[in-house]
Subunit: 143 residues, 4 copies
């Protein structure tokens, strides 16, 4: 039994890939993929915390700017199937958090990425440990 | 002699259309065109006022939200040529301004649009007459 | 009783507006709105015809390039609520179709737009009447 | 003397960052950065080969899909200064090429990324060594 199964279904964000996302090669343009992945991470926060980056920053003064993204592109993304992005936190530091995003279409892994953010206190844009409830939400989903 | 010639060369903003702007029909995706047109209007402000929407809003507390856009698409936009967007104000009201944007590639008119904005005072998001220097800049280019 | 009620619920496409769609004024950037509206029209085709622009063009050789878009922006779009885009065809010509898109958040009309497309036969990019089943799908939803 | 100086000025692509590229934190949205970087790589091909991805794929049947991107975000990107993206190839394999992109504003390093593409022969979407002139262009700029 995998760890993923042990902790239940991972969070999955569904994206409707369209004509406008595709380039003349008839697949989603490479620069759209990080956008999709970030949409999925934002959706993870919405689902787990009750608000995405917009609410975190404006209502709570907590920002999570990215310091690194690494993406392997495995297979083209097309409008033929919905894009399912599985998101989970994979590391939580004192002032940072890393997410893994796996994008699949019709059972095929299309891309896998790792994204690291730091927590900052708005408006000074300085690294700061996250509030306890945010830390707790991430910890609850680490595996 | 056209009015345009009478007042000198209109402002022109050059856009490098790329692979990533195109859809599977191998032409710029329709939803990219308004984006290009807005880039051109912002560039007009940069050129004429010394700062675009970012500087107007953050440094001066003046916003210019759009209330209408109307675009006729005449001919496909492609990466084969630079896209030249001619911008000029065509109407100035008490609290509003309208711009015309003509997009051309290789001498061919690709789209023509008209965009109307209202002036607002930030942060109350209320309509307000623009500062005198902004009004003067627009008036100087009306024709 | 309005016509809309007479013919049942209109098609509605839900969009999750996010942080990344917003500009420094903390509302969706103007140039994102036409993109949202086109996503909604594409979703209408997916729902009614079984395939969006991607499938229409690649599988059936039917393109529907836009010749005009006109949008009135009524109220800011934000990530506070889902954006519900009601789409319906409002005119069907020999070789063209017009759609109305109404975008609402939390019961408030945010924008209303009208979009006109022509039918073309790929790959010659020439205007042509649409196939009968496509015409029938549009006609069934005109009101 | 650095290697860069030894071989002359690196290729630099200038990007006008605007209001619409920024999120509510008033800096360019993270997902715009890979887009900027890809624009810069495409511009490198335009400059060095005489045509970007559009021309490579449509006119010559050569595609260069990405297999990996890794980006470190060092400092926020804003509309206050032009974004200068220095691009250079850093590795050329039998059927792949890697580019480094360094984004700077006002002398400050904002991001650094590495992007790896494979060469494919269109339309079969299979890895293939690049044509000799393309290989030569990359080799001439490796350092």
């Amino acid at each position: 039994m995998s760890q993923e199964e042990a902790v239940g279904q991972p969070f999955e964000h569904e994206i409707r890939v369209t004509w406008g996302d595709c380039d003349p090669a008839r697949i989603a343009y490479t620069a759209r993929i990080p956008w999709f992945a970030l949409d999925a991470i934002n959706a993870w926060w919405e689902e787990k915390l009750g608000g995405g980056w917009f609410q975190m920053e404006l209502d709570r003064g907590v920002g999570t700017p990215f310091v690194n993204m690494t993406i392997d592109f495995r297979s083209p993304v097309t409008p033929r199937h919905r894009l399912l992005c599985a998101v989970r936190p994979v590391r939580l530091g004192e002032t940072s958090v890393s997410f893994e995003v796996l994008g699949r279409q019709d059972g095929v892994l299309c891309f896998e990425g790792r994204f690291t953010c730091v927590f900052i206190a708005v408006p000074r844009f300085r690294k700061a440990p996250p509030p306890e409830d945010i830390r707790a939400v991430v910890e609850a989903h680490l595996n």
